[in-house]
């Protein structure tokens, strides 16, 4: 049973504890006593002679004062009169998983139909009903109050439904809370049995791009794509895999899709130097869910750098040769290093160069960054190991690397990927990479002429990888399409149930603060007349 009288701010009723103080203040002065007298007429005459009004009805006066105080405190606690039983709160569980983007027979998506239904019903709700909308599937969002009624910024259907809707509906439902679930039944074993239910099924054939793998050969233009396709339909269908965007013209690939059988298609592409959005799409006739047919990625522009070489007097030809080879490979040019000249990569071999680590795309070999720093020669350091996971050295064989000398103190703080055994078995970095986001610099503790690194077979690869690493995140492909949601592609079978309507909501509560204040004023006015 719901109590008809409620308080929005019941904690303010603690002020009622002041009533005893009021009673104490209203008590007559001490001493208080009762006496029988044969001279009541004389007492009355004495009172009349002094024009005093006897404090009659003191109890009633206090009762009126207490009533006024109670009414004022009651008004402060925001009393409300509930006109009827019924839920005071509505929680909407809106399925916004990827499958809700499927087109229905009328051409609209299930999500659009659910949104339209929500707007219509929420507009008809009494204003005092507290509405909460929970987006289930994809990014979980919660909207409360006015923003819930406006369905503000609920996004588009995407992602998997990773919520157990029946359990959630059962958990949310309460005597004063109604639950309304809107779903297409996709990827669910059963639909909620608690609360209202609106089932918006959108069934039909659907082909999807399950995954796209990319092999990027940046700074080279070659790009390899490997796309996994799948078809959920009653019969095999033929489709086209189309490539568009920042690549050289590519011919659509015709694909024969068998229902339920994944198909992998490899595509070799040549990207444009300017970069841009690459779009891979699968076109199948009758596909009701086009959202999972497209894969998009943002390709960075190909570098066309000017490579500058800075060597000391003792340097051999290795740096210049390496720069030339690298320029040929990436389509760049080798320029002379001069103060103020802007270059894409600075290759330094020995000597001293005022380079801020991580802020300049530089590849330094035995280069001292600060002339004030004293470097200590390190004769015949023995290469101990290299990082097998680093993008710089993964898969390379540096076991033949021999060094005649290196320098201690020339490496800035950074992520080491090559180490030497120091005295006592301690590993000391021989090379580090300093990451600055879009830029990075790679530093070696030895000069090229002090070892056999330029002669190793891994050197060109290491050089190209260092070039890529120096470009940091600027060289990375950004995939714009979210990961394909599991279980959201097969639109042939979905859980279904009979729609259940929303329960009736009570009419708005009646605010009793004003009547309480009026009652308090009335009590005070009446008290003024009670003497």
């Amino acid at each position: 049973m719901v109590c008809a009288l409620t308080f929005a701010e019941p904690q303010r009723l603690w002020w009622l504890l002041l009533l005893p103080l009021l009673l104490w203040l209203a008590l007559p002065p001490q001493p208080r006593r009762h006496a029988f007298t044969a001279h009541l007429a004389q007492w009355q005459a004495a009172h009349a002679a002094l024009r005093r009004r006897p404090p009659r009805l003191a109890g009633l006066r206090f009762l009126l004062l207490a009533l006024a105080a109670t009414a004022a405190i009651g008004a402060h606690a925001a009393p409300q009169w509930r006109s009827g039983d019924g839920p005071r709160r509505l929680v909407v569980l809106l399925d916004a998983s990827a499958s809700m983007g499927a087109r229905r027979a009328d051409g609209t998506s299930a999500f659009a139909a659910a949104s339209a239904l929500l707007r219509e019903r929420l507009a008809a709700l009494p204003p005092q009903v507290d509405v909460t909308v929970l987006r289930c599937g994809g990014p979980r969002l919660r909207r409360q109050g006015a923003s819930a009624r406006m369905l503000q910024d609920l996004g588009r259907p995407e992602g998997a439904l990773d919520v157990d809707l029946p359990a959630l509906a059962a958990a949310v439902a309460a005597p004063d809370t109604a639950v309304w679930t809107l779903t297409d039944g996709q990827a669910q074993a059963a639909l909620p049995v608690v609360g209202a239910l609106s089932c918006l099924p959108a069934t039909g054939p659907n082909a999807a791009l399950l995954a796209v793998r990319v092999v990027d050969r940046w700074p080279l233009p070659q790009l390899s794509l490997s796309a996994d396709l799948v078809l959920f339909a009653a019969a095999p269908r033929t489709g086209e895999l189309r490539v568009a965007g920042a690549v050289a013209a590519a011919v659509p690939t015709r694909v024969e899709l068998t229902p339920g059988v994944p198909l992998t298609i490899d595509v070799e592409l040549a990207r444009t130097a300017a970069g841009g959005v690459l779009e891979l799409s699968l076109a199948v006739t009758g596909d009701v869910l086009p959202d999972d047919d497209v894969w998009r990625a943002d390709l960075p522009a190909l570098p066309a750098p000017r490579i500058a070489v800075l060597t000391d007097a003792e340097a051999g030809p290795f740096a210049a040769v390496a720069a030339q080879a690298l320029a040929v490979e990436v389509g760049g040019t080798v320029t002379a290093a001069s103060p103020g000249a802007e270059v894409g990569l600075l290759l330094v071999d020995g000597g001293t160069a005022a380079i801020v680590p991580g802020q300049v795309r530089a590849l330094c070999f035995g280069c001292r960054l600060d002339a004030a720093v004293e470097v200590v020669p390190w004769l015949q350091p023995r290469v101990a190991d290299w990082d097998r996971q680093s993008p710089l050295t993964a898969g390379l064989d540096l076991s033949e690397l021999r060094l005649a000398a290196a320098f201690r103190g020339v490496l800035p703080p950074g992520e080491a990927f090559l180490w030497a055994d120091d005295d006592g078995g301690v590993r000391t970095p021989l090379a580090v990479v300093v990451d600055g986001g879009d830029t990075a610099s790679v530093h070696f503790a030895f000069r090229l002429q002090d070892g056999n690194l330029p002669l190793l077979a891994a050197f060109p690869q290491l050089l190209r990888r260092a070039f890529v690493r120096c470009h940091g995140t600027a060289a990375a492909i950004t995939v714009m399409t979210p990961t394909t949601a599991t279980g959201e592609q097969d639109l042939q079978s979905a859980a279904s149930a009979e729609d259940r309507p929303l329960p009736g909501f009570p009419t708005p509560d009646r605010e009793l603060a004003a009547p309480c204040l009026l009652l308090g004023l009335l009590a005070l006015a009446l008290r003024a007349f009670v003497r």
Binding site: P28, P29, Q30, P31, R32, R33, H34, A35, F36, T37, A38, H39, L40, A41, Q42, W43, Q44, A45, A46, H47, A49, L50, R52, P54, P55, R56, A58, G59
Partner: protein
């Protein structure tokens, strides 16, 4: 909230110390005023054994030895006194106010009034031929007559048994007149509302009654609480008045009490009657001094 206390309880009216005191008073009393002049003459006739002999009765302590019938004593060996039926009896009448307003005071005014009645009645039994007790509102006990010193115990018992009842002063008129105007009339009351006594006093005076008003005075008749919150209640009507007493109100109340005393005095003065304010002693005070004033007044 102020709790309403019960009405004060009147302590034992006539304990043994008081009875001893009463006998002492009666033994010392010289005489008592009877009433009109013709009654004085009748008294002399009684003293000379005049009137019609109606019989004997046993002698009791306090009887006049001159009334002993020695011949009868010689015949029977016991003391008897002669009883005569006088032409005019020499008596006194006591009118008692039994209203609840006399329960006020510490000790209650009613205690002083009943003991005052016992002294006056005892004097009448001792020195006159009898006393009539008129208690308006007391039902069957409203009118009682006692004769001879031997009736003193009966008188005390009668007074002790009188209830607390509310009655108007006018109710005393028919009771007094029903026995004729027998002797001097002693009206014992607090005379709290003097105006209510005008009519009965005037009626009795027109019929030639000689009246003395007795007002057992209490400290409450003069003293007023100096401060505090007091709920005063009339025990007779139950009316209540809550007053916050301060110096000004206490002074005004004292003026009202003085005015009441003047009204009471004027009431009796206008009918040519004395009003005796007898300062009642404490309940357990049995010194003879405080009571001799009554004897002296009765002898005037």
């Amino acid at each position: 909230m102020t709790r309403v206390p019960p009405l004060p309880v009147v302590p034992p009216r006539y304990p043994a110390p008081f009875r001893t005191l009463l006998h002492d008073l009666l033994a010392r009393g010289g005489r008592m005023r009877s009433g009109r002049v013709d009654q004085q003459r009748a008294r002399r006739a009684v003293l000379s054994h005049s009137g019609t002999f109606v019989g004997h009765r046993p002698y009791v302590h306090g009887d006049d030895p001159r009334r002993i019938d020695w011949a009868a004593c010689a015949r029977t060996g016991e003391l008897f006194v002669k009883q005569f039926e006088e032409e005019r009896r020499r008596t006194a009448t006591l009118v008692l106010d039994l209203s609840a307003s006399l329960l006020v005071g510490a000790p209650p005014r009613r205690l002083a009034a009943l003991r005052l009645a016992a002294v006056v009645g005892g004097l009448a039994l001792r020195h006159l031929d009898g006393v009539t007790v008129v208690a308006p509102g007391a039902g069957a006990a409203a009118l009682a007559t006692f004769a001879g010193a031997g009736d003193l115990d009966a008188l005390l018992h009668h007074l002790d048994e009188l209830p607390v009842v509310a009655s108007a002063p006018e109710a005393a008129i028919p009771l007094v007149l029903s026995r004729g105007m027998s002797g001097h009339l002693h009206w014992i009351s607090d005379f709290a509302d003097p105006a209510r006594f005008e009519l009965p006093l005037a009626a009795l005076r027109r019929r030639g009654a000689s009246i003395t008003g007795w007002l057992p005075a209490l400290p409450e008749d003069r003293d007023v609480p100096r401060q505090g919150y007091v709920r005063v209640q009339d025990p007779e009507t139950g009316a209540v008045l809550a007053v916050a007493v301060d110096a000004a109100l206490a002074a005004a109340m004292r003026r009202q009490l003085e005015l009441l005393q003047r009204r009471q005095d004027r009431l009796f003065a206008q009918f040519g009657c004395p009003l005796v304010r007898w300062q009642a002693p404490a309940a357990a005070e049995y010194g003879i001094v405080a009571w001799q004033e009554i004897v002296a007044w009765c002898a005037r």
